[in-house]
Every structure is written in structure tokens, then in C-alpha cells.
């Protein structure tokens, strides 16, 4: 029972990381139907920004977190402007390849710039471990979980309640009509990228802090997993992305807990396929069957 509780905590912390990343994926995909392959690498850059801002500029943790969000937001906007905007009217698969190119560029650019080696992240917050019924929870795990939930709620609020959020929804369903009611397409898409990339930046710093190890390739695997999470949850849906993240986190934890660690990813993909077969648009996605 204790072990079970502990594993649940493990699963939730891992899940909240996937969720945080999946949020950005789901937003960008929701609006321009682009699998933003570079999203995981923006998260990597967020982690590196945290690393340097803590070490070189001696920021405190909160400042590092917020500045990483800002830097990544700007970066997301810049990437969108140069790499994706010119392709807005091209086949989507073209933009996907460009996204892959951007991802390669960020990974290898960072490797060339700072070296491909893993490095340890400055411990900006002292680790405090709480014990509760024999379950250990660290303050950083709580921080990640709470941040993930807060950001998710905030996003949902932005999308559902604010004007920009409504504009985002309008652009995602019909960009042309959105322009006809006075929505600026470019601003809206830039805003989405900024928001999604800021999430990734926050995730980067939090994960740097949590695992204490960052490297230029760190975004690759979590990036793909986060996309899978977003798909499981129903891509385009904010609660779906979070749910998907938690499902994957708990699933991976569960599989390892029963001793099948070698098949951890295989199980995740298997569950992905099964979920898609039952719900072809993910858990929260609406499967709008084409009306003839």
C-alpha cells in the first residue's frame, strides 16, 4: 500500500512534466495543425536558460523561471515567424519537415555551442522531503505538480474566457472566417506560440531543478512522449493534454513498478494505439465525422 502510494506520487510527478510539455504541443497543434517537433527543444532551451541565468546572472529561482518563460516565448514567436509562417499555405507535411529541421538545428546548434555533454543544474531550491504515511514527497515534486495544474487552469481560462482565447479557437476552426470578423491571424498565431513556448520554458527550468541534469538532446524523447500525451488526451484540448500527460506518467511508472521496465515505452505506445482505436480523436477530442 505504501509502495503503491509512493508509485502514485512518482507517476503523478512524471505525469505533470509530460502534461506541462503536452500543453504547448496541444495549443500549437490546435491552432495550425502542426506537430511542432521543435517544442521539446524549446523546453531544452528553457532548461539551459535557467542554467545560465542561475549560474551566470545569479537569478533567484522565481526570476529564472519567469525569465525562461519570457525567453522561450520570444523564441517560439521568432521560430514561428521565420520557419513556419512562410509555409502557412503549404501542405502541412512540409511544415512538419521544417519543424523537424528546426528541432535538429536547435539540438545540434546547442551541442556545438555548449557541448553535447550532460551537465548538472544548479540547485536553486533546497530539497525538502515530506513524509506522509511512509510516502516521500519532495517540495520540488509538489512544486511541479502545482505549477502544472495552475498553468493548465490558467490556460483553460485564457482559452475559454478571454478574447484572445476565443480568437484562438476561431482561428483554429476557420482561419479565413476569423480574418473576416477582424481577427489578426498573425497576432493570434504568434500569441499561441508564445504561450505554448512559455509553458515549455517553465517545464525546462522545473525539470532541470527536479532531475538536476540537462543536455542538448534532453528534449527529444520527452517531446515525442508529450505529443503522444496530447494525442491520447485529444489534441487541441487543454484538459486532454494534462490528462494524457498524467496517463503516460502513471502508465510508465506502473509498468516499471511491476518489473517490465524494458517494455515501458512499448506499453505506452500500445495503450496509445488502443485508445485511438476506441476513441479515434483521443479522450477529449471531438471526432467530427465529416458530414456529407
Amino acid at each position: 500500500m505504501q509502495t503503491f502510494g509512493q508509485q502514485l506520487v512518482n507517476g503523478l510527478s512524471l505525469g505533470s512534466i509530460y502534461a506541462l510539455l503536452a500543453l504547448g504541443y496541444t495549443m500549437v497543434y490546435g491552432i495550425i495543425k502542426l506537430i511542432n517537433f521543435a517544442h521539446g527543444d524549446i523546453y531544452m532551451l528553457g532548461a539551459f536558460w535557467g542554467y545560465y541565468s542561475l549560474r551566470a546572472f545569479h537569478f533567484n529561482f522565481l526570476m529564472a523561471l519567469c525569465s525562461a518563460m519570457v525567453v522561450c516565448a520570444v523564441l517560439g514567436v521568432v521560430i514561428e515567424y521565420f520557419a513556419y509562417r512562410p509555409l502557412r499555405h503549404s501542405p502541412r507535411i512540409t511544415a512538419l519537415i521544417t519543424a523537424i529541421g528546426v528541432s535538429f538545428l536547435l539540438e545540434n546548434g546547442m551541442s556545438a555551442l555548449v557541448g553535447a555533454n550532460a551537465r548538472s543544474f544548479p540547485q536553486a531550491l533546497p530539497v525538502v522531503t515530506y513524509h506522509w504515511l511512509g510516502i516521500r514527497v519532495s517540495n520540488i515534486q509538489l512544486l511541479i505538480l502545482i505549477t502544472a495544474c495552475l498553468l493548465m487552469a490558467l490556460l483553460e481560462l485564457i482559452i475559454k474566457r478571454t478574447k484572445m482565447g476565443k480568437a484562438m479557437r476561431a482561428v483554429s476552426v476557420d482561419p479565413e472566417a476569423a480574418q473576416l470578423v477582424g481577427i489578426n491571424l498573425n497576432h493570434t498565431i504568434s500569441f499561441t506560440f508564445a504561450l505554448g513556448s512559455a509553458m515549455a520554458g517553465a517545464a525546462g527550468v522545473l525539470i532541470g531543478l527536479y532531475y538536476n541534469s540537462i543536455d542538448p538532446l534532453m528534449g527529444m524523447t520527452p517531446g515525442i512522449k508529450a505529443f503522444v500525451a496530447a494525442v491520447i488526451g485529444g489534441i487541441g484540448s487543454v484538459p486532454g493534454a494534462s490528462l494524457g500527460g498524467f496517463i503516460i506518467g502513471i502508465l510508465e511508472t506502473g509498468v516499471q513498478a511491476v518489473g517490465l521496465s524494458a517494455y515501458k515505452d512499448a506499453v505506452v505506445y500500445f495503450v496509445l494505439i488502443v485508445i485511438l482505436l476506441v476513441m479515434p480523436a483521443g479522450i477529449f477530442g471531438h471526432n467530427r465525422r465529416e458530414k456529407v
Partner: protein, 234 residues
Amino acid sequence: MLTVKDLAVNYGAIQAVKGVSFEVHRGEIVTLIGANGAGKSTLLKTISGLMRPKAGQITYLERPLDRLSAPQIVRAGISQVPEGRHIFPGLSVQENLQMGAFGQRDRAVFNETLQTVYDYFPILKKRRTQDAATLSGGEQQMLAMGRALMAHPQLMLLDEPSMGLAPIFIQEIFTIIQAINQAGTTVLLIEQNARQALKIADRGYVLASGQVKLSGSGAALLANPDVQRAYLGG
């Protein structure tokens, strides 16, 4: 109010509009009729800023429009009801109408306009919380018009509002267009249903393969034998 001069528009290599000129005066209903593929929709899209002209000028209230983006043009007072309705599925009827007033900041004005729209289209009020995707074709058409009205346009561009509608709806739509016009909005109307359109129009232009072939008052065009043969079914 709106002057289009020697306008030419291309889709890649295809020339869809080849030097079209016409005018719309304040308070009028002007209709453009013409066969399929004549370039009518392309023309409207160019006026509303969705497409860029290859040559020619568009001036609106003495201002050139061809440099403005689509959202800026909406703010300048032109709103379009696009071909095929293009309502926002997934958003409720009321949210769709809110989107129509996207550039609008004043809450009171907004409420007032919303009331007007609901007065024109009482059915929309009944369905205001419903997902717009589940509306019937006629209701969607009304929603599209309502949404365009929410922007408080001075000039409204309508692209085939009667397409695919039941006869009873068609009559209603034309009645509403007249009402909107009476309330002070200038209307540029594109129609396949030329007879109805010319009946309510002050003036009309006939477009064929990207060029203006004929123009005149609604009544004159209705009486024109060429128009009768080609566009009114004999």
C-alpha cells in the same frame, strides 16, 4: 462609397478577375451576377483583404484599401458574409456573434447590436447556446449574416446568401437583406438567384469570365433580354 478600378486578381497563374471596375454608393443595394467561375467570389475576397490584387485600385471612403489587412478592413467598416457561410463550429451561436464584434470594445454598443441581430433573426436567439455546427443550413446562413452585422458595418458584402436554401428561406433572406439596407447599411450582393437579387437591387453588374459585361439599374437588367436568356432562365 466603394470604388473598384481595373482590378485584376490571380490564383497563381490562373487569372480569375481581369480588370473589373464598378462603384457602390452609400445606401444602395448593388448586385453582381454572373455564371459560375466568373470571378465574383474572388472579387469579394479581394475587397475584404483575403486576397491581394495583382493590379488596379480599391478605394473605400476615399481611402485605398489594397494596403490594409483583412482585420483592418473589418475595422474600417466592411464586413463580409462569405460563400458557404463559414460559421465557427464548436462555438455556440452567441459566441459566434461575439466573434463578429471582435474589434468592438464598448459593452453597451455590443449589447445593443446583439439585440438588433436577435430582432432580425429571432430563431438565433432561441438557439443562442447551441453549437453552431448543429444548426440547419438556413440557420447557419442567418448566423453568418448576424455575425457580419455585429461588426457594425457600413458596407456589407454578401456572397450567395441563398445558396442551398429552401425556397421559403430564400424569400426570408431577401426580405432581411432589404431590412438591413433600410436600417442604413450599404449592401454589395452576389447571387446566382439573379431574378430575386435584381428585384431588390438598386443597380447591378453582370460579370463574365473575369470582366464586367453589362451594368444598369436592377429593373433595367431584369428587362434586358440578354440577361433574361443567360441568367434568368428564359
